[in-house]
Symmetry: C2
Subunit: 461 residues, 2 copies
Amino acid sequence: MAEALAEETEREEEDYRLSGELVEEILDAVEQEDADRLSELLEPLHAADIADLIEQVSGHERREILRLWGRQIDGEILTEIDEGIREEVLASLPPEVLADAVRELDSDDVVDLIEDLEEPQQEAILGALDETDRAAVEKSLGYPEYSAGRLMQREVVTAPEHWTVGETIDFLRKAKWLPDQFYHVTLVDPGHHPVGNVTLGRILSAPRASKLIEICEEEFRKISAYQDEGDVAYAFNQYHLISAPVVDEDDRLVGVITIDDAMSVLDEEHEEDILRLAGVGDESAISDTVLETVRQRLPWLFVNLLTAILASAVISIFEGTIQQLVALAVLMPIVASMGGNAGTQTLTVAVRALATRDLTDSNVWRVVRREAIVGLLNGLAFAVVMGAVAAFWFSGAQLGIVIGLAMVINLVVAALSGILIPLALEKLGADPALASGTFVTTMTDVVGFFAFLGLASVVLL
Amino acid sequence: MAEALAEETEREEEDYRLSGELVEEILDAVEQEDADRLSELLEPLHAADIADLIEQVSGHERREILRLWGRQIDGEILTEIDEGIREEVLASLPPEVLADAVRELDSDDVVDLIEDLEEPQQEAILGALDETDRAAVEKSLGYPEYSAGRLMQREVVTAPEHWTVGETIDFLRKAKWLPDQFYHVTLVDPGHHPVGNVTLGRILSAPRASKLIEICEEEFRKISAYQDEGDVAYAFNQYHLISAPVVDEDDRLVGVITIDDAMSVLDEEHEEDILRLAGVGDESAISDTVLETVRQRLPWLFVNLLTAILASAVISIFEGTIQQLVALAVLMPIVASMGGNAGTQTLTVAVRALATRDLTDSNVWRVVRREAIVGLLNGLAFAVVMGAVAAFWFSGAQLGIVIGLAMVINLVVAALSGILIPLALEKLGADPALASGTFVTTMTDVVGFFAFLGLASVVLL
């Protein structure tokens, strides 16, 4: 029974991954140029899974799939395809297929699809839209990149504030067009300023005579069209919003953002943080070619080379000391490595706490103090351990004392730079995740080598 | 105008952070023991913001806030409070306050609140619930930790599959109790198996005579109660789900998961990944004390110490070589550092791609090959640069060749270990983020030192 259960779970868990066999079958059909079989295999898949498949296969296979099956691609698949290869996919489609595909999309999806395209490709897609849709998309594109204005959908279900439940239901039943998904009816005043949100659940469960204004949600948050999309995602997660109205400079309703878009942004922001912390261009994707990958990673490795040379320059000051006592060369990477690791720990916690707004002006000094004390305590602990190891290894108590002292110094410096560097970047308006890893390890390498070799040259020689 | 706009944006962006002044005022009120002023200041805040405040202040301030204002705490605030201090907060509340607070919560929130508590505290809270609620919570607790069964809410709005829109609206209007937020009416067959979802928007806009079964959403995904919550979050993000029915082993409806809970899980999973990659216990929180923080970080630093000592042991093999040519000691950290960085780049991309299901059986070898070639190309690039630098610095062409060769070797090893180690962990059923950073840098340190010093001892001496 327990085993049967485990199997069941196993099977269910496989569901969200394209099975290897299915991908095999699809690629077989592609190789045999069997367009019918290919359609048959792709048809039951969700748009997001088809997009993943197109991203994951090789460049050659991708071109073949698009050639054999591209006419069946729809707008939803296009919006799911990663930016890295979107241009290539769009360029491969016959104009009329592309036009049909974009015409079925909501305005936010069209904006998302075209905002990173080159002018001529953008023009081609905009040209396929009818006048009203095109105007809506162009208006959204007028808002800054990564703003709520770009993220929002312009189609909002609204009602005048004096309406009753009955009037609203009658209106909805007669409406020629409604969004596929909507969660609120937004009440607007005569100046088109949003004044409240009513959930569909309440409209459905209230008597027809109820006034909408009386069954509004207590919590009502508007979002400025100029707000950064990262802040919007944070607000949705923090306040458990499902959809929120977006307003312009004059507080007039211009659109709505729904939680599924906010969730995608949250996911992208995380990706950016984790990749930036590792010194990888934040647009990295599985479909990137070798050259794209080299181009993303080489600049950061180059910065690291410069900082590594700086650390070496510090070592070279003490060449004479090392020559006299080669044990120093053996031990010095330990001090640097421990500092680098401790610094990265603090840095990561700080970057995350800044992203979740847990590190604020009110508690920053307490957290800095905590990190410094933690650095000191960890430093003392490893000073004892490593001091003893070094003293036994090279039969010299003084060497043990030197490495112990250097360890304490470097772990305190690691803690302080791990928290102060991201804080400084944030204050300067930069992303605290960006490049701070390199700054921190530069500090801990330089200080680690300098403290250890410097102390050694004073104490031991 | 543009300036006014910028100001507006600035002001809006501040909104999601507790302002420093407000926190000051709150702490002033606490210091003056002015409970009325404190209530007045906290009252307008969102539960999530109050929870953040309680997390961000010092331990002493927290106890004072709870003493002065704890009787006004509600269930929503309790569920928002970080696990790290939840026990402390719950223990500080009078039993009747706690009982009132939990009675207003949905079953998923009660489960979330108590699942990590000690037995007696759990018992106390369960005891406050009425018989039905208690049974529901206990049934959820019967599912494994981090499963859909724990995440779901047991209160589902269902309708028999033969109902019409009119019957459904009449039923909803008469319902004594409905969830605060629900997005679908789930159709069930007589065996209580879910057969479809109807969005509230469609129910509102369809004629009363329409059959629910005819206006079902096309896409219908059920979730097994035993599914891992991380997979559930992935599915919500991948398929843009808003709510999904949860079923037991017999495919019977047992609950529903909504997107706001999935979004929280996605956020937590990211936190876990980023913290684990940095070697920080994944429960790290801003409210942790110095000792809790030391306890989280020390074990990983200890592992790092062992690997650093291993790298030192490699160096010590070549003590004689270094003694003859101290330039080697100056240059060797560069090779190790470049390897460590390149390995971390690859590792991070791999961990992220595994999390997003972009790295699959179908493309794994192509990605491994890509990484190896990228490592080789980066290695060649930096071999030339660093070879030239070393040759000039220490006036020795051979030294330049040695460091160049070592660089190529180490960057290829870095690329391979950066991708193969997380893949191996994943295959073994472990979290690919966990400890893989340490494995990778151990590889690059050991190989870096060995290749550089070994080649030097052969070529130069």
